[in-house]
């Protein structure tokens, strides 16, 4: 055994071993009677200390602290705004010593899921802050209560009662150099529906059109298409940018590469230098709108206004301390110091005249408060996708907007009808019984020819494994059965049984063409391609690197290992965001390197091939270390005697690799490949963070599609659960097929 330079790993190993040994020591001292009964076996072999450890952890620390009069407030504000809020709460506490306000800053990305989860078990906050346009959704899910009467804009009322108190208002304004005439192009994130809504307001095109119960996209109407054509001309004449996202625009303006940007009031702290002035969007009217001609824009450029509001959460409808705090928040000037514009005129009047917050408020004055109808949030995604397509020249305004309308209607599809459960129960019972008999027979057959195992009767083995079984059942089994149950229900607040309707809807693509963009089959094909490419690349790179580092001097080898494992040590969401930034069209490292060779910048996420490539490149980088480790271990298992014999015979290096090493390596790699395939198939971070499904949802995988159905399309949860169950069933089928295939081959000798 060679041990020389491996003291540290050895120390780790000793530690790990000591933990396991210590956890199981009582078992060791008493483990004798092999013929004793089942119960005593359980006691002996159960690994009591590890169970005690588990129980101790579970009970010892689980004491919750109850406190007297508490008001909890959740928010997802950024650092600056969170500090201002905390300062206000500290002041409020000094005046109200009898109650305790607990503020929680929920990290970005966790707010929706957190609020929904907490609400479902009655652990939600008393108050929370969010944008007012989510009000209807919260109201429909019975998560919020009406607040006491006070003067509020109509946008936050339902049936005359306020369901939110607006605190600050946000919207788009024009940032320009002070005292200079506007020069084109203007940087405007104009392929996002929220951002470009002002354009349509100038053409008097409503966002949504209602006709009795039916809702349609206003922009997809005749006037909307005409307005879009005008917008397209601005893009083509390069008066407006279409490929600048908000961050790029911000940087370009700060670095003086561009003189005017349309951005939200929320970036004011980063942009408002001395020589920068804020103007309403209508200041652009003369530059962008054709005037005096036949089809000039009739109206004004008016941005959407979003109220950052405080909500009173169900079931604290009558909680007077919470109501009082909500009122205090609405009456106080909490955020003007960080340049957030107060929502109410009375509060704005208390802001000093010299404050730049007043400039921002004036620029927002002609904005239109956003409609809080629940359909509004569903309209953005289809419209964004349509605008991007038009800007890239991939579709005409007519066809793209028609597609947007279809997608929007698709999201509004009514819930599946309730099904009666007895027939399903009967079918499930018959299936379960049949399966039970089948498994019994199969077990009988195998137990005759089954190999003798070292651990004696099977019950012993369960005893050894019991702590693991308990934990796995709770954290893996429970979610699994939950999703199965959920997939047969509507998954709404007043959930009901729908049988297989969710599966039927997915598999028939809700009545649309089966191969249409975003259909289950199409996404499945992409996912299969994704999995094949990634796993092939992982295995190739893993084996190559393992071969390369084999036989290096120990010190070099350690260094090589550490470097090659680097992608593994960095959190995958960090790497994914870094790759997204590297593939950025204007500022990304990759395009800058291409520019060194004289190539023009590539819009990586504008085409399927390049976007898919970016995803695959990211995931190959993230995932090859796993195969590298597995392959290194596999190479090490190739007997040295065999290798030496082959070398003595004068075999070439290629020959040795293919004939001696590869057969062993590929056999030992199989479990790793099987696991890697599963993980790649269900890889969520990369597609979600790198391409985000662009272009037009074409690079979406089954897993990210399921996520979007669950959390961002306002679809009932049952539909998403059915998606997850289908993924599970597919992989199960796949693995059964490959196992059956493997079974035919003779097993290699160990």
């Amino acid at each position: 055994m060679i041990r020389g330079s491996r003291t540290l790993p050895t120390a780790f190993g000793r530690l790990a071993q000591a933990v396991v040994r210590c956890a199981c020591s009582p078992m060791i001292s008493r483990g004798r009677g092999r013929q004793s009964k089942w119960i005593s076996n359980l006691a002996i072999h159960f690994c009591p200390t590890s169970l005690a450890l588990l129980l101790g952890v579970a009970l010892g620390f689980g004491v919750s602290i109850a406190s007297a009069e508490r008001v909890t407030l959740w928010h997802a504000q950024t650092e600056r705004e969170a500090r201002a809020l905390e300062a206000f709460i500290a002041r409020y506490q000094r005046e109200h010593v009898d109650i305790q306000v607990e503020v929680l800053q929920v990290p970005y990305g966790g707010f929706d899921a957190r609020l929904t989860n907490a609400h479902s078990v009655g652990q939600g906050p008393h108050l929370f802050l969010d944008a007012h346009d989510r009000m209807r959704r919260y109201h429909n899910a019975q998560m919020v209560c009406p607040l006491p009467e006070r003067e509020t804009p109509a946008a936050v009322q339902i049936g005359g009662a306020p369901y939110a108190y607006p605190l600050t208002q946000k919207g788009l304004v024009l940032y320009a150099r002070r005292g200079q005439a506007l020069r084109l192009p203007i940087a405007w994130d104009s392929t996002h529906a929220y951002s470009v809504a002002a354009w349509y307001s100038a053409w008097n095109v409503p966002f949504l059109v209602r006709d009795h119960a039916a809702v349609a996209l206003g922009w997809a109407g005749v006037r909307g298409v005409a307005a879009t054509r005008e917008l397209q001309q601005l893009w083509q004449s390069n008066a407006l940018t279409h490929d600048f996202d908000a961050n790029t625009a911000k940087n370009a303006f700060r670095e003086r590469r561009i003189d005017a940007v349309v951005l939200g009031t929320w970036v004011a702290p980063d942009l408002l230098a001395e020589d920068v002035e804020v103007r309403p969007l209508s200041a652009l009217q003369t530059n962008l709108m054709r005037t005096g001609e036949g089809n000039a824009a009739p109206g004004m450029l008016r941005p959407f206004i979003t109220y950052e509001s405080v909500f009173l959460a169900h079931p604290y409808c009558e909680h007077s301390e919470a109501q009082a705090l909500a009122n205090a928040l609405a009456e106080a000037d909490v955020w003007s110091s960080v340049l957030a514009v107060p929502a109410s005129a009375a509060v704005l009047a208390t802001v000093p005249q010299s404050s730049r917050t007043r400039e921002l408020a004036a620029a927002l004055a002609n904005g239109i408060p956003m409609d809080s109808a629940s359909e509004v949030s569903l309209a953005f995604d289809p419209l964004d996708r349509a605008l991007l397509k038009i800007a890239r020249g991939a579709a005409t305004p007519e066809s793209a907007l028609r597609e947007a309308e279809r997608r929007f209607q698709d999201l509004l599809t009514p819930l599946p009808e309730a099904a009666s459960w007895p027939p399903y129960a009967a079918a499930a019972f018959i299936l379960a019984t049949g399966l039970g008999f089948y498994l019994r027979r199969k077990r009988k057959r195998t137990s005759i020819s089954g190999t003798a195992t070292a651990l004696g009767p099977p019950r012993h083995r369960w005893a050894f494994a019991s702590p693991a079984v308990v934990l796995v059942a709770a954290t893996v089994g429970l979610p699994l059965s939950y999703a199965f149950a959920l997939s047969a229900t509507s998954g709404t607040t007043d959930t009901y049984f729908v049988g297989l309707a969710n599966f039927h809807n997915i598999l028939t693509n809700r009545g649309h063409e089966l191969w249409a963009s975003g259909s289950f089959y199409r996404v499945l094909a992409i996912t299969v391609l994704w999995t094949l490419l990634n796993v092939a690349a992982h295995v190739a790179l893993g084996v190559l690197f393992a071969k390369l580092t084999r036989g290096l001097a120990p010190r070099t080898q350690t260094l090589a290992h550490a470097t090659l494992l680097l992608p593994w040590a960095i959190p995958s969401y960090v790497s994914a965001l870094a790759f997204r930034a590297m593939f950025h069209t204007q500022e990304g490292l990759i395009n800058q390197m291409l520019a060194l060779f004289g190539a023009s910048p590539v819009a990586w996420f504008a085409h399927f091939n390049t976007a898919f490539f970016a995803n695959v490149a990211t995931n190959v980088w993230l995932g090859f270390p796993f195969m590298y480790v597995a392959a290194s271990a596999a190479f090490a298992a190739v007997g040295k005697e065999t290798l030496e014999a082959a070398e003595l015979d004068g075999a070439s290096a290629w020959r040795i690799f293919w004939s001696v090493e590869w057969p062993t390596v590929q056999r030992l790699l199989r479990p790793a490949i099987a696991l890697g395939t599963l993980w790649t198939f269900n890889m969520f971070n990369v597609v979600f963070l790198v391409s985000g499904g662009e272009p037009d949802g074409e690079t979406e995988l089954l897993i990210s599609e399921a996520y979007r159905w669950a959390f961002s399309r306002g679809a009932p949860r049952g539909y998403a659960a059915a998606y997850a169950v289908l993924i599970f069933a597919l992989l199960l089928l796949l693995s059964r097929l490959t196992e059956a295939n493997d079974g035919k081959q003779p097993k290699g000798a160990a």
Partner: protein
Amino acid sequence: MTPHQAFWKTPLTLLAVVAVVTVPVAWILLESLRGEPETLSLSAFHVAWGNGNRPIFALQFINSLWIAGSTTLLCLAVAAPAAYAMRGRQHPLYVFLLRSQMFPSILASIPLYALLDRIGLLGTRTGLILAYTGTALPFAILQLANAIESIPRDLHEAAHLDGAPESTVFRQIFLPLLRPHLVVTGLFAFMGAWNEFALAATFLSREELFTVPLRVASFASEYDLQLSPFAAASILSSAPAIALFYFASSALTTNQVEGAVKG
């Protein structure tokens, strides 16, 4: 151990490969050092660390260490006997665990949340440790079971013919053989817990209890990504993991089982 070197021209190829692999890391490092205007500066690290009087990052760092460390130890203590008990890939538990990896876990947070609430562990570090242990277990058991299967069958039989009780066989024969695999498995459990975001964001409700990934994510919001502090926080968060990998890297690829058997 040197005969293959000539053919693969190892050092040069390796250097090129290493360069490509490290580009994204180098880029993150550069971003974190970017000051305003274009200078090298450590200001992003100051922002990431938390300004002045609130040592919040340090606290969250300790939280992460405690949570990931406990997860690792608990996971090993539970997984090793289970893997020993299964002894092979035909065991129903093995099959179930492998199947469980096929399920997309994005919907798992909902029932787990309700479960932790029921046993009063919601919003505690302990609750998170249990959840992480549970999610790390399937892979840990699979890995250790594979390792055990690679131990020659003669060894099992020889031990049992000697009449040694089950527990002695496990402790004195299998544990030493499993040592490098325990390191690797532990490393996996640690990394999983160290980098996990979604469950932590959903379960924890006080900033003092937050873990490092939540801090890193706080520099990315719906509207903008503060790239420099984000990169700086990423580097601070990856440092312990990188150190661990460096120390454990040779254990990752050695095969002490073979050595012991032949030894």
